[in-house]
């Protein structure tokens, strides 16, 4: 059984110049674009090491058993414990920050950007965008009914500047999709916002993820690729998020995707991660570390405070001296591999 961390990756950044005002986007590195990734996945040239089904089954069985043992330490009245992707990231970055984020579902500029980015990707991947991006977004939000209402409500109360910034972002995303992605081949059977839930330990633990875009995989005969969409710019920290997608996908379907990738809408950047046994194993270790923290906190342990690069976006910042010091630059805290979402969605 392989116990190494995920393989090192080549430089994976697609360089894009996005002229925000007129939304002209030029892709200068075709190697790391969505079409290039799908092309390479299809011809198999980019896949270094297919995952052996027997070894994968063994690894997943080990992970399930570890989860069961960890959850057994949690008080019964706190179950089911839930680990969505964001909570894994939050718990590993700073426990107190993770608790401060619980139940915080207020709509703000960052969330609105994330939501409309998802909608534009969904429309692009299915029926295609029109030149009137604003009309497309408003129409999509209206069609979502109660699910679209929070963004529409936020827009109604936003300042002119905030609203203009949102629409500029929408134009950039649409331009990136048109030029960076091009038309997505329908034979890949694109699916958007596909939820995956894994129930473990007899229902006491629920792992989950929402795959922003899934292409290929069963029931097609194409390789399976999962793409996470971020509204911000490309960053190395996105790779750790991808680990969770690979693990949850493998647990849910009993097989591994060929690739998981993050696409960043503000700069058409792509961080692709080929899925190997090592990738999934690294994800499993990271998931167990987050679960250990979750179990401890559920049992009443005091939350640890670990300032990190995401403190500026923490709802607890005003009440947190270490965080304030970090933001003021007084403390040179490490950049945790698991820094929080840094204001993106």
């Amino acid at each position: 059984m392989i116990r190494a961390a995920a393989e090192p990756l080549p430089s994976l950044r697609g360089t894009v110049t996005a002229a925000r005002d007129n939304a002209v986007v030029t892709t200068t590195a075709a190697r790391f674009t969505v079409p290039a990734l799908l092309g390479e996945a299809l011809d198999g040239s980019a896949r270094p090491c297919p995952v052996d089904p027997g070894e994968l089954a063994e690894l997943l069985a080990w992970f399930r058993a570890e989860c069961e043992a960890a959850v057994a330490r949690s008080p019964a009245d706190t179950r089911p414990l839930r680990l969505p992707k964001g909570r894994v990231t939050d718990l590993l970055a700073c426990e107190r920050g993770a608790l401060a984020r619980l139940g915080d579902d207020a709509m703000g500029a960052a969330r609105a950007r994330g939501r409309i980015t998802d909608l534009l990707v969904a429309q692009h991947a299915t029926i295609g965008l029109t030149p009137d991006v604003r009309a497309d977004v408003l129409d999509a939000l209206g069609a979502l009914g109660p699910d679209g209402a929070p963004v529409l409500g936020w827009l109604a109360g936003a300042s002119e500047e905030e609203a203009a910034e949102l629409w500029r972002h929408a134009e950039v995303v649409a331009a990136c999709l048109a030029e960076g992605w091009g038309a997505l081949d329908r034979a890949w059977w694109p699916r958007c916002q596909e939820r995956a839930t894994v129930v473990l330990a007899g229902g006491a633990l629920v792992l989950s993820a929402t795959f922003d875009l899934v292409v290929g995989g069963p029931p097609t005969d194409r390789p399976w690729v999962v793409v996470e969409v971020k509204s911000g710019q490309v960053s190395d920290r996105h790779r750790t998020d991808l680990l969770w997608y690979a693990l949850v996908a493998a647990l849910r379907h009993g097989r591994a995707p060929a690739w998981v990738a993050t696409w960043t809408a503000a700069d058409d950047g792509l961080v692709p991660l080929p899925v190997t046994l090592g990738t999934i194993e690294a994800a499993a270790h990271r998931g167990l570390a987050a679960l250990d923290r979750l179990v401890g906190l559920a049992a009443g342990r005091a939350a640890g405070v670990t300032p990190h690069a995401g403190c500026g976006w923490c709802p607890e910042l005003d009440r947190c001296e270490p965080g304030l010091a970090r933001v003021a630059g007084l403390v040179d805290g490490p950049w945790p591999g698991d820094a929080a979402g840094l204001g993106e969605s």
Binding site: L99, Q123, T126, D136, A140, A143, L144
Partner: protein
């Protein structure tokens, strides 16, 4: 009568014997047509609610209904699925385009009106929902056997009228196989749900509704939660008896809600979705000493 049909008829007799006395206040004279709004329908939602608390109320839930991409997901997704079945090699998005072009043939007036009002953005949001549903269900059978799947049309129900009562037992099934030429008893049913948590209840209710509607019981019921996976149940006496017992509880709850006196309460996590939560002492007491947790964690404040 064959053995299957005899068994099916026997379940009708059992259901009539159980539900008749519980619902005597819903009696209607033979031959009298019951106005649509006066009918009580016991569907899997009612059965689930009664299993949690007989006094649970969601009387206002229907009043807020609006068409939306999420609400239209199943109806449009079933039509997309039919396209995938009938035209091997077709992709879901093209199937969706074809359904939209032919929407008046597929859907009722209310949904057609809503679809007519959608622009490209709304259609994109709906395509994402409907195609996701169709692809999830398409994995139920291998592609080579897809042609043998009978797909429910939007608005199809398994519905059985309880003799002499303003009462219907209503079940739902998204697809079944084989498609045609089979005896009802050879059928395997598929029901799509949000989560597998109560899969056995869902499977039992669908199997019972099918048995009562066709007077013949199916072979198996598969419950599929696209996010989670699927689980299958062989239809035997045990599954149907449990389902019948839950149906009796749902009938009791429905009669109490319409005519009183109030049914006994059984508080639990479902209280926070109950329309009576503010006036129900049992619910208030249950919630009082249980802080709201988020996936096991207490928020900072």
């Amino acid at each position: 009568m064959t053995g299957d049909l005899a068994a099916g008829a026997e379940w009708r007799a059992r259901a009539t014997a159980l539900l008749g006395p519980i619902t005597d206040r819903l009696a209607v004279p033979a031959g009298r047509k019951v106005p649509y709004g006066d009918l009580v329908r016991l569907d899997d939602h009612a059965v689930r609610r009664a299993g949690e608390c007989l006094a649970f109320s969601d009387a206002d839930a229907g009043e807020d209904y609006v068409e939306s991409a999420a609400n239209a997901r199943r109806r449009v997704g079933l039509a997309v699925l039919a396209g995938l079945r009938d035209r091997p090699g077709l992709d879901p998005v093209t199937a969706f385009d074809e359904v939209m072009a032919d929407r008046a043939r597929w859907f009722g007036d209310r949904l057609v009106d809503w679809l007519d009002g959608l622009g490209p953005g709304g259609r994109g949001a709906l395509a994402a929902e409907a195609c996701g549903y169709a692809v999830a269900v398409a994995g139920w059978v291998p592609p080579a056997r897809m042609g043998d799947v009978r797909i429910s049309r939007p608005g199809d129900w398994l519905e059985w009228a309880v003799p002499g009562r303003a009462l219907r037992v209503r079940g739902r099934c998204d697809a079944m196989t084989p498609r045609r030429g089979a005896r009802p008893a050879d059928r395997r049913l598929l029901v799509v749900v949000g989560a597998l948590e109560r899969a056995e209840m869902v499977a039992g209710h669908a199997a019972l509704a099918y048995t009562l509607t066709t007077a013949s019981r199916p072979q198996r019921v598969t419950v599929l939660a696209p996010a989670e996976g699927r689980t299958a149940f062989a239809v035997d006496d045990h599954l149907l008896l449990d389902a019948l017992e839950r149906l009796g509880a749902a009938a009791q709850a429905a009669v109490a809600a319409r005519f009183g006196p109030p049914a006994p309460t059984s508080p639990g996590p479902w209280c926070n979705r109950c329309g009576r939560a503010e006036e129900c002492p049992a619910g208030a007491e249950w919630s009082a000493d249980r802080p709201v947790r988020f996936g096991g964690l207490l928020p900072l404040r």
